[in-house]
Structures are given as structure tokens and as C-alpha cells.
């Protein structure tokens, strides 16, 4: 039950609510603005004269006869063949997530069940690897990859993303497996299972919540990556994010910046849906390593 003192509006409360309100506005407005603007022509979205043009689409009406236009989307998806990059992104993301989780569950389980000193050192090494800026690693890949002729292909990028993803995946699944009581798999082993059978029949059925949460973050890492994909993929194998960047190089001159705006909105839409469905898991994953201290 809320007491009178809890529901009363105090100055401190007013300040803190307005701070929250201000933050929510700052967080959401850029997305709403860009989404709305992506259906306008460039003269409206980048309107020097009057910013309300972007709201009502004055120039858009003048140029196309309607307040909304799909020109940007048509340009990006059809003329610039953005669909190809979307397919590439799909392949990279799906395989990265599946392989990362397979490697990560096996490794994370081993780290959680081994009491030896080397398990601790592996986790510390993983923490240092996690802190490594990705571009420092990429500068080590290029020369060998060129020499071995594996530069530019999707599988190369996938395995590199899997490796970069491992430190995080290991930490997260390790702390998740620590929460599953040891007795479960050990009693299975007493009953005659090998370690792997115990893992397969006892742990696998109960591990899905942790795996899904970790998978969401593996997805985000692969989906959001720019450094690795921009440097390791040839032009025809480019994924969405480097493609958007190379759009800018070519389109700004030709006044086709709206293609890039449309591509940006298209690339953000899946993330929006992801948050909509998995908000709880994302929040619990963000804090998984933290709350236990």
C-alpha cells in the first residue's frame, strides 16, 4: 500500500521525474525523427530554411505529390542492392550466434565445474581479450589472410567474429552454469553417466534461459560489428553496416543521402523488434555478471 508520503509530489521528486522525462526524450527523439524523415525527400529532412518542413513534408509534396515517399527505400534496396547486404548480414549473424553458443556452452560449463587454478587464469585471459580494441586484432589478421587467400570471404569473417565473441560468451555462460547446482550432473555421473552424457542429458535441458540471453548479446555483437566486417569482407560480400558506411562515401556527392537514411532505418528495425520481444532477457543479461559482484 502506498502511503500518503510516498504519493505526495516533493520538489526532489519533481526534479528526478523531469530528469527521467528529459532522458527519455533524448533517447527516443533521434529515432522518431529519423524514421519520420526517411519518408521525406532530402530537401525536407535537411531543411535549412524551416525545420517544420521535415514534419509536414512541404518539399516532398512539391516533388512527389504526396507527403510520404518511398524513394529513399527504393533507392537503397533496389538501386543500391541493399538486399544483398541484408542477406550477407543474415548469414554472418546466424552462423556466428550458433557457433559461438556451441563453443561457449561447452567451455563455460567446463570453467564452471573445474576447481583448478588454470580455469581461473583462463577467465582472466578472457577478460583481457575482452578489453582488446577489435581493430588491434584486425591489423594482425590482414597480412596472413591475404597470404593464405582467405581474405574477403564470409566464413573467415564468421570464425573471426566467433573468436572475438568467445571471451564474453565464456564469462556469461560460466556465471550462468555456476548457478546450476553441481549435484544435478554429479548425481547423474554417480549413476554411471560419463561427464559428457551428464552434460547432454542433465544440463542441456535446463540451460536454455542462459543460452538465449547470451545468444542475444552474440547476435548484437555480430549484427553491430563494423570494424571486423569493414576490414575483412570484399565489396560483394559486405554486410549491412559497412555497406551503409560505403553508401555515404558515394551518395553524399550525388545528393542521395536519403538512401543512407532509409538503409539506417532498415538496419535499426530488427533491433527494435528484438528489444520489443526480449527486453526482460536483455536486462537480465546486462546485469548477469554484475549483480553477483
Amino acid at each position: 500500500m502506498a502511503t500518503a508520503s510516498e504519493t505526495r509530489m516533493t520538489p526532489a521528486k519533481a526534479v528526478s521525474f523531469s530528469l527521467v522525462g528529459l532522458w527519455l526524450f533524448i533517447a527516443a527523439f533521434p529515432f522518431l525523427w529519423t524514421f519520420w524523415g526517411s519518408f521525406k525527400v532530402q530537401a525536407d529532412f535537411f531543411s535549412k530554411a524551416d525545420w517544420t518542413n521535415a514534419l509536414w513534408g512541404t518539399q516532398t509534396i512539391a516533388e512527389t505529390g504526396s507527403a510520404f515517399t518511398g524513394q529513399g527505400y527504393f533507392g537503397a534496396w533496389v538501386i543500391e542492392a541493399f538486399w544483398q547486404n541484408v542477406i550477407n548480414s543474415g548469414i554472418v549473424v546466424v552462423f556466428t550466434v550458433i557457433i559461438s553458443l556451441t563453443f561457449g556452452t561447452l567451455g563455460g560449463y567446463a570453467l564452471a565445474r573445474s576447481g583448478f587454478r588454470y580455469a581461473f587464469w583462463l577467465l582472466i585471459a578472457a577478460l583481457v581479450f575482452r578489453a582488446m580494441p577489435h581493430i588491434t586484432l584486425v591489423s594482425g589478421y590482414l597480412l596472413p589472410f591475404f597470404e593464405w587467400n582467405i581474405w574477403g570471404h564470409l566464413p573467415t569473417t564468421i570464425i573471426v567474429l566467433v573468436a572475438i565473441n568467445q571471451p564474453f560468451t565464456l564469462w556469461m555462460l560460466h556465471s550462468f552454469f555456476l548457478n546450476i547446482p553441481k549435484d544435478m550432473d554429479e548425481s547423474a555421473m554417480v549413476d554411471g553417466c560419463t561427464r559428457f552424457q551428464a552434460f547432454r542429458h542433465v544440463i542441456v535441458p535446463v540451460m536454455w534461459p542462459g543460452v538465449i540471453t547470451t545468444g542475444l548479446f552474440s547476435f548484437l555483437l555480430a549484427y553491430n560489428d563494423f570494424t571486423v566486417t569493414a576490414m575483412l569482407l570484399s565489396a560483394e560480400n559486405e554486410t549491412m553496416i559497412p555497406a551503409i558506411n560505403s553508401f555515404l562515401g558515394t551518395t553524399q556527392v550525388e545528393g542521395k543521402v536519403m538512401y543512407a537514411v532509409a538503409a539506417v532505418v532498415s538496419a535499426t528495425a530488427p533491433l527494435f523488434v528484438l528489444i520489443l520481444f526480449f527486453q526482460r532477457q536483455i536486462v537480465s543479461g546486462l546485469t548477469a555478471g554484475a549483480v553477483k559482484g
Binding site: 528526478s16 521525474f17 527521467v20 532522458w23 527519455l24 533517447a27 533521434p30 529515432f31 535537411f46 531543411s47 535549412k48 525545420w51 563453443f103 561447452l106 567451455g107 583448478f116 587454478r117 583462463l122 582472466i124 578472457a126 577478460l127 583481457v128 575482452r130 578489453a131 582488446m132 580494441p133 577489435h134 581493430i135 588491434t136 591489423s139 594482425g140 589478421y141 590482414l142 597480412l143 566467433v162 573468436a163 572475438i164 568467445q166 560468451t169 561427464r195 548484437l220 549484427y223 563494423f226 570494424t227 576490414m231 551503409i244 558506411n245 555515404l248 543512407a260 539506417v264 538496419a267 535499426t268 533491433l271 527494435f272 527486453q279 536486462v283 546486462l286 546485469t287 554484475a290 549483480v291
Partner: protein, 343 residues
């Protein structure tokens, strides 16, 4: 778990990390000891009726052959580390001898590419991290006091700037603050200066990037603290209330100490992520005034036709050393905790 079983379970993950994280670090180090080949020059003498002339030409074939035979280049030892683009010992020595005051000296050092990038990276990290922690805590307290119905939607909205692709998120902001964008045009209107651009000066560019950094990482600290607030024990709050502590005192003396372990976790994560700041510089095309360590490595590798592997390698090694220094306090503390538990 037996050693043998452990090895089989960890093998795929360990192999991936060894091959694509540990070995590349070695490869980066080796690269940094070499520099690209110089072009092979041929001097040919052509003698005519009016005497002999010497002409120099680039022997493309021989250059290409040399590059193919030894793709690493020629050995240069630690030369790349101390040249002008990196630690620049010679230039700093000269500056130290020739400048009168400290400010002059720092100005010269600040113009050297590596130190410029280091300065931006450190300033960015040092401002974004504390600001994000304080604001995150304030917003977490605010959201925690909201009616239950509003909590879910506010978390949903807050997650957007954090989970959006960094390159895309910074583009979205860039289009708004650009000269023709909604915020940029409004600022020009307010100051009545049609040429005012946020990219015009170093200070404005740095501010713009730092504001982006705060926008992008604030949700992480906010949500972590918010989750921590859910675990504050009610009975302690009640007890403090009975003892006559005001709401502010309760926050300061009960809630904040309870969140302290979280603060060190969030600080660690933010330091790691801010130190590698890179994408916003690409999106904002801010390289004229602001370059980070990651960006100069990217730029060396992008050098069209002839990537500067040696130079990129040297900067990468220096960056890795920076990361280790940054992590040192955490590593030392974990090591101590571990030893205490072991004995």
C-alpha cells in the same frame, strides 16, 4: 572435473581464442618490427652525342617481386615505435630543448599524431565514464520511483540508444547536428551565423563526440543500477526510516553503498568500451579534429594500395599496452582475492 575432460570441453573455444586473438597479437608484434619495402630504383645511363645523362626510374617488376618474396617488408627493429608517427622520442627531445614553457612544450607534443590520438582517447574516456555513472545513478533512482506502469516502457526506450549499432546511432545524431539538420540549423539560427558548424573547431568536435558517447552508454549504467536497486533489502530501508533518516539520507547512506560493487563493475566495462572509441569518428567524419587510437590504426590499414602494416602494428601494440595498464588495478585486485581464497 578431470583435466582430460576439461581439455575436451574447452578445446573449441580455446582454439578459436588462441588462433584469432592470441596469435594475431603475436602477428601484430612481428609486423610492427618491419617496414614496407622501398621502391627499387634503376639508374640508367643514356649516352648521346651531347654527353651522358643519368635517369632514375622505378623498377615496378623488381619492386613487385620484392614485395611478393617478403610481404612483411624489411626489418626495422623498434624503429617504427620511435618514429614521428608514434612515440616520437627525437621530436620530443627537440621540443623539450627548444621550448621555454610547459604550455609551449605540450602544444608541440599535442601536434604529434600518436599523442594527439592518445589525448583524445583519454579525454573521451575520462569524461564519458564518470558522467555516465552519475547520470545513470540519478536516472535509475528516478525510474525506480515511477509508477509501475511506466517502468517497462521507460526501460524499453532507454535500451534503444545502447543497443543500436554504434555506426548507425552516431549517423542518426550526425544528421541532426549537421549544418542542415534539425539541431544544427536551429543552433545556426540562435547564434545567427549561417556558417556555424559543430565540425569547425576541435573543441566543438570533441564535445559532439563526448555527447554521443554519453547518449550511447548511459543506458548501460542506468539499467545496471536499476537492477541493483531492486535488490536493496527493504528491512534496512525501513530501519533507517524508523531511525529518522530522511529520504535523501537513506539514499546516500543505504542505497549508494549497496550499489558500490556495481559501480566498480560498470566502471570497468565503460573503461574498456570507451577506450576503443572508433565508430563515431567515422560517422561524424570528425577525423580533422578528433582521432582516437583505434581510428589511426584503421587509417593506416586503409591506406589505399599500400597499407602501412608496420605502423598499424606499432600503434596496436602501444594500444594493447594501454589497455593492460587500464586493467591493471582490476587484475591485481582479482589476483589478490584469488590468493586470499586459495590460502
Amino acid at each position: 572435473m578431470k583435466h582430460r575432460t576439461f581439455v575436451w570441453f574447452i578445446l573449441p573455444s580455446l582454439a578459436a581464442m588462441t588462433l584469432f586473438i592470441a596469435l594475431p597479437i603475436v602477428s601484430v608484434f612481428i609486423q610492427s618490427l618491419f617496414v614496407g619495402h622501398e621502391q627499387v630504383l634503376v639508374v640508367s645511363k643514356s649516352c648521346g652525342p651531347f654527353g651522358c645523362q643519368e635517369s632514375t626510374a622505378i623498377d615496378l617488376e623488381a619492386t613487385e617481386k620484392l614485395r611478393e618474396e617478403a610481404p612483411l617488408g624489411r626489418f626495422n627493429g623498434l624503429g617504427t615505435y620511435i618514429n614521428r608517427s608514434h612515440l616520437a622520442f627525437a621530436e620530443i627531445g627537440v621540443a623539450w630543448a627548444e621550448t621555454e614553457t610547459f604550455s609551449e612544450f605540450w602544444k608541440v607534443v599535442g601536434d604529434l599524431p600518436f599523442y594527439r590520438a592518445l589525448a583524445f582517447t583519454l579525454v573521451y574516456t575520462a569524461i564519458v565514464t564518470p558522467v555516465v555513472i552519475l547520470l545513470g545513478l540519478a536516472i535509475a533512482l528516478g525510474v525506480n520511483a515511477l509508477p509501475k506502469l511506466l517502468k517497462g516502457p521507460s526501460i524499453f526506450v532507454s535500451l534503444l540508444p545502447f543497443l543500436v549499432t554504434p555506426l548507425v546511432g552516431s549517423l542518426i545524431l550526425f544528421w541532426m547536428v549537421d549544418g542542415d539538420g534539425v539541431i544544427g540549423a536551429t543552433i545556426q539560427l540562435i547564434f545567427n551565423d549561417p556558417n556555424l558548424s559543430l565540425k569547425a573547431s576541435a573543441a566543438l568536435t570533441w564535445t559532439m563526440l563526448i555527447v554521443y558517447g554519453i547518449w550511447h552508454t548511459l543506458p548501460f549504467s542506468f539499467i545496471t543500477f536499476y537492477a541493483g536497486l531492486q535488490t536493496v533489502p527493504d528491512d534496512i530501508l525501513e530501519a533507517a526510516k524508523v531511525d529518522g533518516a530522511s529520504k535523501w539520507e537513506r539514499t546516500l547512506h543505504v542505497v549508494v553503498p549497496h550499489l558500490m560493487p556495481l559501480v566498480s563493475f560498470v566502471t570497468l566495462m565503460l573503461l574498456m568500451d570507451n577506450f576503443r572509441v572508433f565508430e563515431p569518428i567515422v560517422s561524424f567524419s570528425a577525423e580533422a579534429h578528433a582521432r582516437s587510437l583505434s581510428w589511426i590504426i584503421y587509417n593506416d590499414l586503409r591506406e589505399s594500395g599500400n597499407p602501412l602494416y608496420g605502423s598499424a602494428g606499432a600503434t596496436s601494440m602501444l594500444t594493447i599496452i594501454g589497455v593492460v595498464i587500464l586493467l591493471a588495478p582490476v587484475l591485481i585486485r582479482t589476483w589478490r582475492d584469488f590468493n586470499r581464497k586459495a590460502h
